[in-house]
């Protein structure tokens, strides 16, 4: 898994690629939490290049979502590959996240 973080005007963009499972999900959690600790409230996570996401990764996303929502921020997802979209729905988490087709739409939504 690779994570790149870009500060945009409206939000902080996390672009992730590769596989997210319980062996590396904490890296994602650490990256998100470090920014939230530094005061980031608006987050976009681009999952276009993610080819695998298990509950370990979902847990980190939900954890970060809870933290930013507490302070009136939000964590929004974009560019979900179909299989990742399926996982989100099966896990019953699709209603919690605002999901956008593209990065531009997700960042622009803030």
């Amino acid at each position: 898994m690779e994570i790149s973080v870009t500060e945009m005007n409206r939000a902080t963009l996390f672009t992730i690629s590769g596989r997210i499972d319980s062996s590396n999900a904490n890296q994602l959690g650490d990256a998100l939490n470090a920014r939230i600790d530094a005061g980031t409230l608006n987050i976009v996570v681009d999952l276009e290049k993610v080819d695998y996401l298990s509950s370990g990764g979902l847990r980190e996303l939900v954890g970060a979502l809870k933290r930013v929502k507490n302070d009136d921020g939000d964590l929004r997802l974009c560019s979900l590959p179909p299989r990742i979209q399926d996982v989100l729905e099966l896990a019953g988490l699709d209603a919690l996240f605002q999901v956008f087709e593209t990065q531009v739409l997700a960042v622009g939504s803030f």
């Binding site: 695998y52 954890g63 809870k66 896990a91 988490l93």
Partner: protein, 265 residues
């Protein structure tokens, strides 16, 4: 015809063993000829099962081994996962509320919920001091493509090439190299049988076109046969039906090419 595969996961590696486990599951599911979605579902279900074992049955400390046995047969794959941790009772795991609000979301139970939805059958037993989980997934068996491009010498020194599956940026170079090798050996009579090609990208088209030009320049010919309608429409769009001679079958192509070759002598 059943094949049995086994993987012993050493507890001391903890979650670091998850990539090895998902790879094992994916390979077994592919060997069972499951479709791509089913292969993905097997990976996830086995991952979730082992993640739960490490986290709950072994409590993340002094993690014991996990034994995975997979029964592979065409169209179905059964995983048996054994651990020696705390007895697991699936009925005690709260069912995650679908559509629950953020405050009510509890991360626990998502793994079990996913396993039940991703696999066709999920059974838990506690026996002989261990938990035994059995999960089965089936799908219509997928045809296995040949592992590489087939090359065959036919009568009249015509060379038959049979590419397969998709001819895109990653697979076209194999065809390109096969054609270049033949041309360098002075084989200028080539028939490409497209029967197993389901998709062609510009890279694939380019490989065929440059080989066609070389064959033509050397008083030979490169012809095609058995093109499926989708691929043919790509040929039409780019005007390649004007360049290539396209035959309806391999036999028709071979006899036409033999005659053409004899008349050129």
């Amino acid at each position: 015809m059943q094949e049995i595969r086994q993987l012993t996961v050493l507890g001391r590696y903890g979650y670091d063993s998850i990539p090895t486990i998902t790879q094992f599951a994916a390979e077994a599911a592919k060997a069972a000829l499951l479709d791509q979605d089913a292969v993905f579902h097997c990976q996830m279900a086995v991952d979730e099962a082992c993640t739960n074992i490490i986290e709950h049955a072994y409590g993340e400390k002094n993690v014991g081994n996990i034994e995975i046995t997979c029964f592979v047969e065409p169209g179905s794959c059964t995983f048996q996962i054994i651990d020696h941790g705390k007895p697991f009772d699936p009925d005690k795991v709260p069912v995650p509320k679908i559509g629950a609000s953020l405050q009510d979301i509890r991360p626990g139970g998502i793994g079990l919920h996913l396993m039940r939805h991703l696999m066709d059958d999920v059974q838990f037993e506690f026996a002989q001091g261990g938990n035994k989980l059995t999960m089965k997934k089936s799908s219509a068996p997928q045809a296995t493509p040949p592992q590489s491009i087939q090359i065959q010498q036919m009568p009249q020194d015509i060379w038959l090439i049979q590419p397969y599956d998709r001819l895109d940026a990653t697979t076209a170079p194999e065809l390109e190299n096969t054609l270049i090798d033949l041309l360098q050996q002075g084989r200028f009579w080539i028939l490409v049988d497209m029967a197993q090609v389901s998709y062609i990208s510009s890279r694939g088209l380019k490989a065929l076109a440059s080989a066609w030009r070389q064959a033509d320049n050397n008083n030979g010919a490169l012809a095609l046969c058995n093109i499926n309608p989708q691929v043919l429409s790509v040929f039409e769009t780019v005007g390649f039906t004007q360049i290539f001679t396209i035959h309806p079958s391999q036999n028709a192509a071979l006899s036409a090419m033999s005659e053409q070759k004899i008349s050129k002598k």
